[in-house]
Amino acid sequence: MKLFKFSIGIGLIAVLSILMTSADHIDSPAVTSMPTDITDYYAFSSPENSSNMVFVANLSGLLTPANTTSAGFDENVLIEFNIDNDGDNVEDLVIQAIPRDGKMYFFGPVAPSQTGTSSQVQSGNDPISVDITQYGESAKMTNFGGFKVFAGPRDDPFFFDLGAYMDVLTGNAGGFSDPGTDTFAGTNVLSVVIELPKSMLGNTASLSTWVESKVKS
């Protein structure tokens, strides 16, 4: 650091520092894509085993095949699956997924130490982990006593003519075109897939669920 105190003339104190700043400085990295953007959420009874439930959270939408290789989960981002059993829209159980060094770690289902918009990782419980599947590899999964987990790039399962919808919404078109165009065709997302026995989810006839992305602050 260079910080100078020096007086120029009478009574004028100038604090001068000599540095180079923006003149030869690159601008800040783009703030356009966010590793926290959830594109979709699914919850369904397992096609393989009807006593299991499957949860799917997708992030980082509209990846092209070319940039899927370099797309990755962010170690500062916690993906939290919330389960409410008693209809008060407050989570009774959470399953937390967070990446470290090429693996995705899963904690829960467990009653969270704190509900709402801030969370701690429930790391008092031993996690289940899976190697994050890299682009081009076949899907890697961990199956631990019927609790299956996956994390990595997948085809975006969503199908929607977003362009036509925007035209309808903004009054550019009076209706959808037929046939429509799947805006998400040929693109990938980063997926986290969990399958676990329904018995671990609170034993209610119906549950409410939602997913959140949370950033370390």
């Binding site: 369904f44 918009t117 996690p127 085809d155 199908f159 003519d161 009076g174 897939v193 399958e195 671990m200």
Partner: protein
């Protein structure tokens, strides 16, 4: 209720520790000292598909994405109703028989209801909101409920985006989603 929860949590702990004992596989990870400390603050959330896109104005998106479901009804029901009536000024009821206020108060709380037995689907003609499967045409369901009127037949040009399936076939085995392009 609370007692049940505590008992349940205890059961869960026991179950997990049994797993630990019975399986010396590389899971659960106990040997690794990893740092998971810190507080994590919400940036995005999702329950039902495309609710954000359809009903939340740009100006409200940040608040909506950082809200918890238990506060959403109070914050967004009226705004969702205004939005619904702006999208479809002729809205009376929809195929579920819900008037504008009821329909939007359901939607404003962005959670996905899932049945723990029976079929899980967004809507298949019989089952309503019992989950969301990969191949559910959720957009058409939402469009029908917004524009289709009491029997789903109103505004035919607006009740389907005419994209009815994914561009890749889903797998019948875990992790179910198709491999990337």
């Amino acid at each position: 209720m609370k007692n049940i929860k505590i008992i349940y949590s205890l059961c869960l702990l026991v179950t997990l520790s049994l797993f630990t004992i019975s399986c010396s596989d590389d899971n659960p990870d106990t040997g690794v000292e990893l740092d998971f400390s810190g507080t994590f603050a919400q940036r995005d959330q999702m329950g039902r598909p495309a609710i954000n896109t359809v009903f939340v104005s740009s100006a409200d998106k940040d608040v909506f994405n950082r809200a918890t479901p238990s506060t959403m009804g109070g914050l967004f029901s009226q705004k969702f109703q205004d939005r619904l009536l702006a999208l479809n000024p002729g809205y009376t009821t929809n195929a579920l028989g819900l008037d504008a206020a009821t329909f939007t108060s359901v939607l404003a709380t962005d959670i996905l209801s899932v049945a723990t037995s029976g079929k899980t689907t967004f809507f298949d003609g019989t089952n309503v909101l019992t989950g969301r499967a990969l191949d559910d045409d959720v957009i058409d369901v939402e469009l029908i409920l917004i524009f289709g009127g009491p029997d789903g037949s109103s505004n035919p040009g607006l009740t389907s985006d005419n994209v009815s399936a994914n561009d890749k076939t889903f797998s019948s085995s875990f992790p179910y989603l198709a491999s990337p392009w």
